[in-house]
């Protein structure tokens, strides 16, 4: 279990992280969200032991993160780096060895990752000659070749075309099923929504919201009801709901924002009583909406 306990990190007069805290169960996939400059990367670096928190602590299975635990971690930084003149196989081998992978397991794992990521034809070519997408695959292999217990991926999908994004997604699901604890940050919320079991939204270097998607949604104060057809009677009834207000008309239906505590079954009964209703949906907020609201509050 990873426990990030109220960490703070300052660089001179700049406070990059003021108070971030969360815990991740073994094998869970965790989404760390936040706008640029919110402290995500600094938090990830503290988790990996690259930076030492000025206050608070990062503990893995109850012990402070040190050289030994880091050996079992993997990292794909946001700023991708590669040895341009080093061949693909050599580069993966180097990082595997740094994580203490030794023969005969070494060659087996490297071959498997090269094949898994479709890099076989490039294995003996210098990394600098590869396309950006393929270079990114090499970096993924470097980060995961030693079968880390915790893999931290900072913006793993950025710069990938849809096909390569699918390949990466499949790799992440495979790691998930193997029990690897994953921490991901991404601006592609829809991908995280599918992958992650828990999230932490940070802004200004501090937690803004944390929990599973269901928990985050339950804390959301409103819901959207979508009703079709958008008749006068339907509109009049929805206008009468306390705290409701009309949103846009969408595809022959009308959206109304209503308080989350609204009794949707009762509302449906009342709507059916006053007008013919062919569609009634109570829409949950998306992760994207929750994220925007969380960081919007910060901006306010």
């Amino acid at each position: 279990m990873l426990d990030v306990d109220h960490v703070r990190k300052e660089f001179g007069s700049v406070r990059a992280v003021s108070d971030v805290h969360f815990a991740i169960e073994d094998g869970a996939t965790f989404g760390l969200l936040g706008p640029n400059g919110s402290g995500k990367t600094t938090t990830m670096r503290m988790i990996l032991g690259i930076l030492v928190p000025d206050r608070g602590s990062v503990r893995w299975n109850g012990a402070a993160v040190g050289d030994e635990s880091r050996r079992h971690f993997g990292y794909l930084p946001e700023e991708r780096g590669i040895y341009g003149k080093m061949k693909v196989r050599e580069q993966i081998t180097y990082f595997a060895k740094l994580h203490r992978l030794r023969e005969p397991e070494l060659t087996k794992r490297i071959d498997r990752w090269i094949e898994r990521l479709g890099l076989s034809v490039y294995a003996d070519r210098p990394c600098g000659e590869l396309s950006k997408g393929n270079q990114q695959k090499v970096q993924v292999a470097c980060a995961a070749v030693h079968a880390p217990v915790l893999l931290v991926l900072d913006e793993p999908f950025s710069g990938l075309d849809p096909v390569n994004a699918e390949v990466l997604l499949a790799v992440l699901r495979e790691l998930q099923s193997n029990g690897t604890t994953l921490i991901l940050s991404s601006h592609q919320m829809w991908q995280l929504e599918d992958l992650c079991s828990r999230f932490c939204i940070i802004a200004g270097g501090a937690n803004r919201a944390e929990g599973s998607l269901a928990q985050l949604r339950s804390a959301w104060p409103t819901r959207v009801v979508r009703v079709a057809p958008p008749s006068e009677a339907v509109r009049n009834l929805l206008e009468g709901v306390a705290g409701a207000h009309a949103l846009a008309r969408v595809d022959g239906a009308i959206d109304y924002q209503v308080p989350a505590a609204t009794d949707f079954a009762a509302l449906l009964h009342r709507l059916v009583d006053v007008a013919p209703v062919t569609k009634f949906e109570a829409l949950e907020p998306s992760l994207h909406e929750i994220y925007l609201r969380a960081i919007g509050e910060t901006a306010a």
């Binding site: 690259i50 880091r70 990292y75 700023e79 180097y94």
Partner: protein
């Protein structure tokens, strides 16, 4: 930590040994040694043509003068008295004509030269003095030679050399080794710097420091570079010995130029000099390369490398020149003081050890001070490196660097 260091060391070695800067440095070094080896012979030839002279005068007089002048001039021939002009010199391929006449009170000499500035009257006077004595005292050449042969004995007092020839040979070898020390330390520190800068600018640094302890990373790089330095040194010394086989031996070494032969090296080099060279090479290289690596971690573009390493290279350049001066005066105050100063001592103390009898306690104190300095440099550079490798954007100010060191 040791295992990580070994992995980084092996990877760095494999990467650097195939790199263009290393191969170019090695080949250029070999070519430079070959060139420097041939240079004295080439220069001798040039000097020899500048000293080509024709003697003009009576056959008796020129015959007696010829052996006296032959030590410093190439005598093209002797001719009877005749008018000398530019055409005469060109016709005989001579730089000058020395006209000798015997007068009642001795010798009269006139030098006709293309370049009057090249004539040294004092030297000529000393060379012709025996002839002058023969003429003025009416004694035979053998008698004059006997009178001139004043017995001179040289007794070495407090010197480690038994003869002037041996001292000159050791200075020549020490000079060569100082030059190698300088080249090896600067070239290989630049390799470490380039490696750190490459990892910083290619953004792979973050992945590395997440995988391995930065101290192991930095140490692996520096040790790999030190190994390559040793490889370079071995190749260069082999080149010298190969090219020097059969050359002038101790004489070549004593002249301070040309290729040193195996015989001349073994004649004068002691195990102490060899050990001192390696000890001070290792200390000096570690000090400079660690300093360079820390500084290189602060740059964001490889173009900025020069501006950050140039000021750090100045002590090495200064140390080189102080060491050259130390060859002649190994016990001067400057030499003694700087043989303790970090970054300077590896050059100066090595030079003092090579050419004088340095008390053992001074060597021990110098090594202790420099190892302590190396530790301090490593701690400071390590802190800068650890933070610098993750620092992108504007280069940090000196104040920020200082705050990192203090942290």
């Amino acid at each position: 930590m040791i295992e990580d260091l070994a992995t980084v060391y092996a990877a760095e070695l494999a990467r650097r040994i195939r790199s263009r800067p290393f191969i170019v440095g090695l080949v250029v070094g070999v070519l430079a040694i070959a060139l420097v080896g041939k240079l004295p012979a080439f220069l001798d030839k040039q000097v020899s043509s500048a000293n080509a002279v024709v003697l003009i005068g009576s056959a008796t007089l020129t015959a007696r003068a010829e052996p006296l002048l032959a030590a410093n001039d190439r005598i093209l021939g002797s001719l009877p008295l005749q008018p000398i002009d530019d055409a005469f010199l060109k016709r005989h391929g001579a730089a000058a004509a020395i006209e000798l006449r015997a007068a009642g009170d001795g010798l009269r000499v006139t030098v006709f030269a293309h370049d009057p500035g090249s004539v040294e009257p004092g030297l000529l006077r000393r060379e012709l003095l025996p002839l002058q004595l023969e003429l003025t005292t009416q004694r035979s050449a053998a008698e004059v030679k006997k009178i001139s042969a004043i017995p001179i004995a040289i007794a070495a007092v407090g010197s480690k050399f038994s003869s002037a020839k041996q001292a000159a040979a050791v200075r020549a070898i020490a000079y060569t080794l100082i030059f190698f020390l300088y080249l090896l330390i600067l070239l290989n520190s630049q390799l470490v710097t380039a490696s750190v800068a490459e990892e910083k600018t290619s953004r792979i640094a973050e992945l590395l420091v997440a995988s391995v302890n930065p101290a192991a990373l930095l140490s692996g790089k520096i040790l790999a570079s030190a190994t390559l330095g040793m490889v370079q040194l071995a190749v260069w010394i082999a080149t010298i010995l190969f090219l020097g086989a059969g050359s002038g031996g101790s004489q070549a070494a004593a002249s301070g130029g040309g290729i040193l032969s195996l015989g001349s090296v073994l004649d004068v080099i002691t195990p102490g000099i060899v050990v001192a060279f390696f000890v001070f090479f290792v200390i000096g290289f570690l000090q400079v390369s660690t300093l360079f690596a820390g500084a290189a971690s602060l740059i964001n573009r490889t173009e900025d490398l020069g501006s950050i390493t140039l000021p750090l290279a100045l002590p090495v350049v200064a140390a080189f020149f102080i060491a050259i001066a130390t060859l002649q005066v190994p016990d001067s105050t400057l030499a003694v003081v700087t043989s303790y100063v970090p970054l300077l001592a590896p050059f100066v103390m090595f030079t003092r050890i090579a050419v004088s009898n340095v008390p053992v306690w001074q060597i021990a104190v110098s090594i202790a001070i420099n190892l302590a300095a190396l530790y301090v440099i490593a701690v400071f550079a390590g802190k800068i490196y650890r933070v610098g490798m993750l620092l992108y954007g504007r280069s940090p100010s000196l104040r920020q660097v200082w705050s990192v060191i203090r942290s």
